[in-house]
């Protein structure tokens, strides 16, 4: 470690090898791109095979690109910058970004690697939905995967000549464009076969992907019949007859298909949960590995240096997986650089004389940036995002955040309570990502804002100590506001939740000293809504005016 004096910065060395978990096509592409940027890659796959053999469903519609994918697969196998471990899995991952120690097991062997970044690139899995339609497996009942297999073989295709095929889609699940694309491609392929009639029983057609509307139209022009329903049709004798009441024609419509093809669900890889636990990253909706939080899109996880690609984070075909991988390549380059990183020295400082290694900080850090040594907790300056949740949660007040230390914050609170001619004095603690930006917008756009309002900027609402709130009242504030990001929009994931808890604590204390609850409020704000900010603060002033000035003054 070299000190760069007078700058408040220091330079540290970080590991530049990268671990890629998942040897499907997305993982291969990630390994190839990252190796191409000059970093060594360890590519880990649980199965014996890599690449296209693993998930043929993801190749749908990529006939023209297939050759290139094969080339990519071959190239990666001979790339000296890529170490491939098949039939291997991740056992543990200690440390933080720039310095992870990953332990991988392969057979009896355990291999240890020091890596700077980790990419998770698992594939989606398919699941039959026959039960949802009350259909049992039979010669005439096919899953979408079975239909794909039939269509892939010239010999099997002939069996479909002069047959009637019915598809069921969007009635057994909400579905998505990739599910529909699989159906549309099969329909178009069937229409190339002599005498094959195709009927599609569909719920909502999820056409929100490039080219699907055109395929839908093309298949209709070629004679495919779509019945758009709001509930499942009546399926008799395990798919021998399908019937429903047509509300336009005002009669029952009955079809006797030779084959009935049932849509499949596309779901998260079952390995995801285990990987998430080992890497301490969050599991989002439906078992995919990314929170539903816009600040993480496209490829970030809650931990710096751990990235999620393609179907790891949401159901996606290869085109969007490729987009993800290119974004990861940029992120990895930016993070690892040439292995030397300049970081702020005072981002988050732990006072050794106060720290008792209780690990509260380790548990509450949403970025997984904290570990511990013999004498104190250690906050990685590379992984730390400076949100300050740890500083406010620390029971020993042992952590200070650069630019937002407690002394300066309390001074700002005191100075913020300005004397006025009977106008309410309001202190608004504003997250720099939302409330503060909205407040500046309201000001610049000359929207209505009370004269006695003072904004105090915090790095995240999670940095607002209970003390700050109480001190504001002690200093004579007539009202105190906590302006955080909306739930689900916090860059530090739950800084706003911590802030809400502290406000709830403060409510109880206000009650004890006999101060009205309405003098304190917690609100969600957005950086681009100056109008929202204005209406919230004007309402607050109105409420305070009704209550009168603070008796604590």
């Amino acid at each position: 470690m070299t000190d760069m004096k007078h700058t408040g910065m220091e330079e540290i060395n970080i590991a530049t090898d990268v671990l890629v978990l998942g040897g499907g096509l997305t993982g291969i592409k990630a390994a190839s791109e990252i190796a191409g940027s000059g970093y060594k890659v360890i590519l880990v796959e649980k199965d014996p095979e890599l690449g296209s053999q693993k998930g043929p469903e993801s190749l749908i519609g990529l006939e023209e690109e297939y050759k290139g994918l094969q080339d990519l697969e071959d190239k990666i196998k001979t790339d000296s910058n890529v170490e491939i471990l098949t039939q291997a899995s991740l056992v543990s991952a200690a440390g933080v970004t720039g310095d992870f120690t990953a332990r991988l097991s392969k057979g009896e062997e355990v291999i240890e690697h020091n890596v700077g970044a980790i990419v998770v690139a698992t594939d989606f899995a398919t699941g039959a939905l026959n039960e949802k339609y009350g259909l049992s497996p039979a010669d005439n009942v096919l899953t979408q995967s079975q239909m794909d297999e039939l269509l892939a073989s010239e010999a099997d295709k002939e069996k479909l000549a002069n047959k009637t095929v019915a598809f069921l889609v969007g009635l057994g699940q909400e579905g998505n464009p990739l599910v529909l694309e699989r159906v549309l491609r099969s329909v178009l392929a069937l229409q190339e076969i002599d005498g094959c009639d195709v009927y599609i029983y569909a719920g909502e057609l999820k056409v929100a992907s490039n080219g699907l509307e055109r395929m839908y139209k093309e298949s209709r022009e070629k004679g495919a019949v779509y019945f758009k329903l709001t509930e499942k049709p009546e399926i008799i004798e395990n798919g021998k007859t399908i019937s429903f009441f047509d509300t336009v024609a005002r009669r029952d419509i009955e079809i006797l298909p030779d084959f009935i093809v049932v849509e499949e669900e596309l779901r998260a890889d079952q390995l995801n949960e285990e990987i998430a636990e080992i890497l301490r990253i969050n599991v989002g909706p439906s078992g995919f590995l990314q929170n539903d939080n816009v600040h993480f899109f496209p490829v970030r996880s809650n931990r710096e240096g751990i990235f999620v690609a393609g179907s790891t984070r949401e159901i996606s075909g290869l085109p969007s997986a490729w987009t993800d991988v290119e974004n990861i390549a940029v992120e990895v380059r930016d993070l690892l650089g040439d292995g030397k990183k300049s970081v702020a020295k005072n981002k988050a400082v732990v006072d050794e004389t106060k720290c008792v290694i209780c690990l509260t900080c380790y548990r509450c850090c949403p970025h997984g940036a904290i570990y511990w040594g013999d004498k104190k907790a250690i906050i990685s300056p590379v992984a730390c995002q400076g949100c300050g949740i740890c500083a406010s949660e620390c029971p020993m007040d042992a952590i200070q955040i650069g630019g937002f230390d407690d002394g300066a914050m309390n001074e700002e609170v005191k100075n913020g309570v300005v004397s006025g001619n009977g106008m309410p004095r309001i202190i608004a603690f504003c997250c720099q990502n939302s409330g503060f930006e909205a407040g500046e917008m309201a000001d610049i756009f000359k929207m209505q804002v009370p004269d006695g309002l003072r904004m105090i900027k915090v790095p995240c609402a999670g940095k607002i100590d209970l003390d700050y709130i109480l001190n504001a009242f002690v200093a004579g504030a007539d009202g105190v506001m906590v302006m955080a990001c909306h739930p689900g929009n916090c860059k530090s994931e739950n800084g706003n939740t911590y802030a809400q808890w502290r406000v709830n604590d403060a409510y109880r204390m206000l009650e004890e000293v006999g101060l009205e609850k309405d003098r304190l409020c917690f609100v969600g704000t957005a950086s681009n809504m100056g109008s929202g900010f204005s209406s919230i603060v004007v309402d607050m002033e109105k409420r305070i005016n009704e209550l009168g000035l603070s008796p604590l003054k």
Binding site: G68, A208, T230, V248, D292, G488, N528
Partner: protein, 395 residues
């Protein structure tokens, strides 16, 4: 090779252009960002936050954050009210720029304002005559449009086309009465109404609308217009804005006329279920809107249960207009010799690499290459930046 001497031109200052420029600047690459209007941010900067008591992942706040990144980044040189006149490809690209032909709407005031506090200048004087005799009309720091724009030339190593889309012009569907009836608005109008007022009001009287209809697929999935694509953004924005209306006014009655509801966000199934309990969904697209008393509107549609036609009155009708190719696409296609697809959007070399083009050194980012929401535009711009970095051989 060092990034030091490399320079990239990004055409278009919307969310894709901003993101591409910023991603490149992270690697010390110089960027010339060209925007034909007097403001950065494109359409996306005009969108409102769609949170109710929780975030709905519309991404509008990320546009604001990206704009702030860009205006504070010295590696990015911004040229407002500017467009490309000529380009010459001889290894590097030699570019001639000129003042853009941008003209604001005739109906606007003498001074127009940017949508973000990060716009600089924030106010632009577009019609001096309208401001004469009224000193209050011209805010401090306002700049005359006539004095803006960059004429000159420079050489660049690669170009990213990020000139965006155009919202479908609802006047093309004349039977909806857009611009004839004050309470027929587009989704784009509703974004601005909410952003200005933090709530939904009727344009005719500024009152809260009680009965509201959303008509989906206006200008999208429309064979008669030859628009054979789903715009991918309209179901998400319509349902999210309907949620805001319901959140602010629990008594509001909202009807959504639709063909197929597209997924909204990552937890789409849960979100749609919630919407179904709060709004009425009618799988039928009305064709005509008739004016009624008090500026209300009547629509005729078929009831799915009994197949009968119904006339129903609404306070406010929202046309969920979609994404159509940007007005500059054909001109840019000629200038850069990169073809357009049958829908009028640019396309990449293949489905997997949708940001590189057949023309070496010319890349695509965002809706210039087809419908995308904010998150997808940003991701596409990141992909374009990655391809550019590879193209330059920067290490």
């Amino acid at each position: 090779m060092s990034a030091k001497d490399k320079k990239i031109m990004v055409i278009g200052g919307g969310i894709a252009g901003l993101t591409a420029a910023w991603e490149l600047s992270r690697f010390n690459i110089d960027v010339e960002l060209i925007e034909k209007t007097p403001f950065l941010g494109g359409y996306a900067i005009q969108y409102c936050c769609k949170a109710t008591d929780e975030c709905r992942q519309c991404g509008a706040c990320t546009v604001e954050a990206m704009l702030k990144n860009v205006v504070n980044e010295p590696k990015i040189k911004v040229h407002l009210a500017t467009e490309v006149e000529k380009i010459n490809n001889s290894g590097r690209f030699s570019v001639d720029l000129k003042k853009s032909s941008y003209k604001p709407d005739l109906s606007t005031e003498g001074v127009i304002r940017g949508y973000s506090k990060n716009n600089s200048p924030l106010h632009v004087i577009v019609d001096k005559e309208k401001c004469e005799g009224n000193p209050d009309a011209v805010p401090e720091g306002a700049v005359e449009l006539d004095t803006m724009g960059f004429s000159g030339k420079f050489d660049v190593d690669a170009v990213i086309l990020a000139s965006g889309f155009k919202p479908f012009d609802a006047e093309q569907k004349g039977t909806y009465g857009y611009k004839k009836f004050p309470n027929v608005v587009t989704g784009m109008d509703l974004e601005r109404i909410i952003r200005e007022n933090a709530t939904v009001v009727r344009p005719s009287d500024g009152k809260t609308a009680q009965k509201i209809a959303f008509i989906q697929c206006v200008g999208s999935r429309d064979e008669r217009l030859g628009h054979l694509w789903c715009s991918q953004v309209c179901c998400p924005y319509a349902l999210r804005m309907a949620e805001i209306i319901k959140h602010k006014n629990a008594d509001a009655e909202i009807t959504v006329f639709y063909m197929d509801i597209q997924n909204v966000g990552k937890d789409y199934a849960g979100f749609y279920e919630k919407c179904k309990t709060e709004f009425r969904f009618v799988r039928n697209i009305p064709v005509d809107v008739f004016p009624m008393e008090n500026d209300s509107l009547s629509m005729r549609y078929m009831n799915e249960e009994d197949g009968l036609c119904i006339n129903e009155e609404f306070d406010l009708v929202v046309l969920s207009v979609g994404i159509v190719p940007g007005p500059d696409n054909s001109n840019l296609s000629d200038l850069f010799d990169v073809g357009l697809n049958e829908d009028g959007f640019f396309t990449g070399i293949d489905k997997l690499n949708s940001t590189s083009t057949l023309k070496d050194g010319i890349f695509l980012a965002g809706t210039v290459a087809g419908p995308k929401d904010i998150a997808a535009s940003m991701a596409h711009a990141g992909q374009a930046a990655s391809e550019v970095i590879k193209h330059l051989g920067v290490s």
